[in-house]
Amino acid sequence: MAVKTLIEGVREALAEEMERDERVWVLGEDVGRKGGVFLATEGLHGRFGEARVLDTPLAESAIVGVAIGAALNGLIPVAEIQFADFIHPAFDQIVSEAARIRYRSNGDWACPIVIRAPFGGGVHGGLYHSQSVEAFYAHVPGLKVVIPSTPADAKGLLKSAIRDPDPVMFFEHKKAYRLVKGEIPDGELLTPIGPAQVRREGASLTCVAWGLMVHHCLEAAEAVAADGISAEVIDLRTLRPLDTGTILRSVEKTGRALIVHEDNLTGGFGAEIAAVVAQDGFEHLDAPVTRVAAPDVPAMPFNHPQEEAFLPNPEKIAAAMRKLAVY
């Protein structure tokens, strides 16, 4: 058991799975000799060679499309999209193709691929190196959407994703890569895709988040504890399939739900969670289901003042918690 960073969790998962199964194939821009722009694939090229750790041409649609084809012929591709902001050119290959290979062939063909992409802001990435894109994919039947918030989950969930028989979108918060440290148990670590995790128990309100926002929520929860507010914090970990059970059980206990995400408010995945709570948790609600999210502007600006203004942070979340608790 050793304390590691989130990106180390990613790196260990890739290395172990490539070691275990020679069908596992890493591809993407700069994943080879450079080891990826965030060094998530560092060392793999030297260890497994160019054919299994491939620097692709600059073409996201082909990265996904070629991965799909390779999966049809026996490989297990793990594609890296350099920044989630650059996944859009591959939207069609992911939504029309990867997500539907099994369904449209009535189960004859399968598409066991993983698509990894760093997302999220607060790193002076500007409009195109900061986006959250999970809502687009969490709406697509046939995809699984996973977002780890701890080093252990980054490793355990990525290993499960690589072994999953269906396409998995795996989003990693780039600011959390080195900021978030935690213990990773030694030995085989396979964390199931699906179940959410209660990171903090509480009775006053239920806070649902994913990625870096989980840590902001925990910080906010500590801050409001002083005012006698006990916030339960749920780390969703998997957005699709959604663990409604864990969310609803918590709301049943607290009667109050706060959903936090870094993505824009309108049509963000928080809306789905709010809709589920509003429909299935109605009897238990003592206050309006509340969302804290980024404003509806096209991604966060590069300049520091506006980047700050854009991002949800522990202060904004704590304020929402206080408001909700006294409703």
Binding site: G65, G69, R104
Partner: protein, 343 residues
């Protein structure tokens, strides 16, 4: 007369197919595939007019390009990433008349999609024909990926992807050809150029006569062939497959064909194609052309041809009867196969 001269003289007198190493039996099988495909294709239009098939889309006029290419492939070993006109191609690779008609009627045991997809959205696992969507050109990167896996796994497999000429305008087509060229993959892209993308004419689709001109720009081999000449397409595809298997990389083949029918049962090509053009088309029937060749070479008699026509008609009749009688998909199965069952 030297040995060499003699050999050349013999070669000169020898029929084209012999020079290509094709024997009578193989030619007759190729011809049968074309005839059966045409019979199925014609019948699906009848079914459509009778209101028994809500949507049909056709390969009439493309048969020689498809069967010629298939003849250079090893069924069950080489792969096909097809498109919706590839009926004859699929027949040649082992799809049965019944398989096809099950798709036309969208029956539960349609091997392409269990009736989930429109007809002619081919897929047949046992024949290594991959599942395809309606979104054109998306299958070309898939074909490149299959080829990459074959190369990585050291499997002796060749992958053929088919698209229409309009689909070469898509980004996915470019990205896939570039990838295949960079890695010198066992990949062949056959463009079936029928001059139209629904109603959009060639001149508004690209600034060149033949898309094969693009091969050089990727660093791959390219060829333009008369897609109405089944032997010419066979020869070009065989050469491409040989290159692929020798590790010499991919090939782009532009096969010029004629689209006999409207784009689909939802289209009426008289709205945008001049009558003279449509009349000229009918003089370009690839099946008639092959029939004449076989007869000239004494490989097909009028009688044998009539028998074949009757045989194919019977096969189509039987396929229609069986397929129409087959079960429709069960609404209760609507939510099956979104993910692996029991996962």
């Amino acid at each position: 007369m030297s040995e060499e001269e003699l050999a050349r003289a013999v070669a000169a007198r020898q029929p084209r197919h012999t020079g290509l190493g094709l024997d009578a039996e193989k030619l007759q099988r190729m011809y049968r595939h074309m005839v059966l495909a045409r019979a199925l294709d014609r019948r699906m239009w009848v079914l459509n007019r009778q209101g028994r098939a809500p949507f049909v889309i056709s390969g009439q006029g493309h048969e020689a390009a498809q069967v010629g290419a298939a003849a250079a492939m090893r069924p069950g070993i080489d792969w096909l990433a097809p498109y919706y006109r590839d009926l004859a191609f699929c027949i040649a690779l082992g799809m049965t008349a019944r398989d096809f008609m099950l798709g036309v009627f969208a029956r539960a045991c349609d091997p392409s999609s269990g009736g989930r997809q429109m007809p002619s959205h081919f897929g047949l696992r046992r024949a290594r024909i991959i599942t395809t969507s309606s979104v054109v050109a998306t299958q070309v990167p898939h074909a490149a990926g299959i080829a990459y896996a074959a190369k990585a796994r050291r499997l002796d497999e060749v992958v053929v992807a088919c698209v229409g000429e309009g689909s070469t305008s898509k980004g996915d087509w470019h990205e896939a050809l570039n990838f295949a060229a960079v890695h010198r993959l066992p990949f062949i892209c056959i463009v079936q150029d029928n001059d139209y993308a629904i109603s959009v004419p060639h001149r508004l689709q690209m600034g060149v006569e033949t898309v094969a001109e693009r091969a050089r720009g990727y660093g791959m081999a390219g060829a333009t062939v008369d897609g109405g000449d089944v032997l010419a397409v066979y020869e070009a595809t065989r050469a491409a497959a040989a290159r692929a298997r020798a590790g010499e990389g991919p090939t782009l083949i532009d096969a010029k064909v004629a689209r006999f029918t409207s784009h689909s049962s939802d289209d009426d090509q008289r709205r945008y194609r001049p009558r003279e053009e449509l009349e000229a088309l009918l003089r370009r029937d690839p099946i008639e052309r092959f029939r004449n060749y076989l007869m000239d070479e004494g490989l097909l008699s009028e009688a044998a041809d009539e028998d074949l026509q009757l045989e194919c008609t019977a096969e189509v009749d039987e396929a229609v009867t069986e397929a129409e009688a087959a079960h429709e998909p069960d609404p209760a199965d609507l939510e099956r196969h979104v993910f692996a069952e029991g996962s």
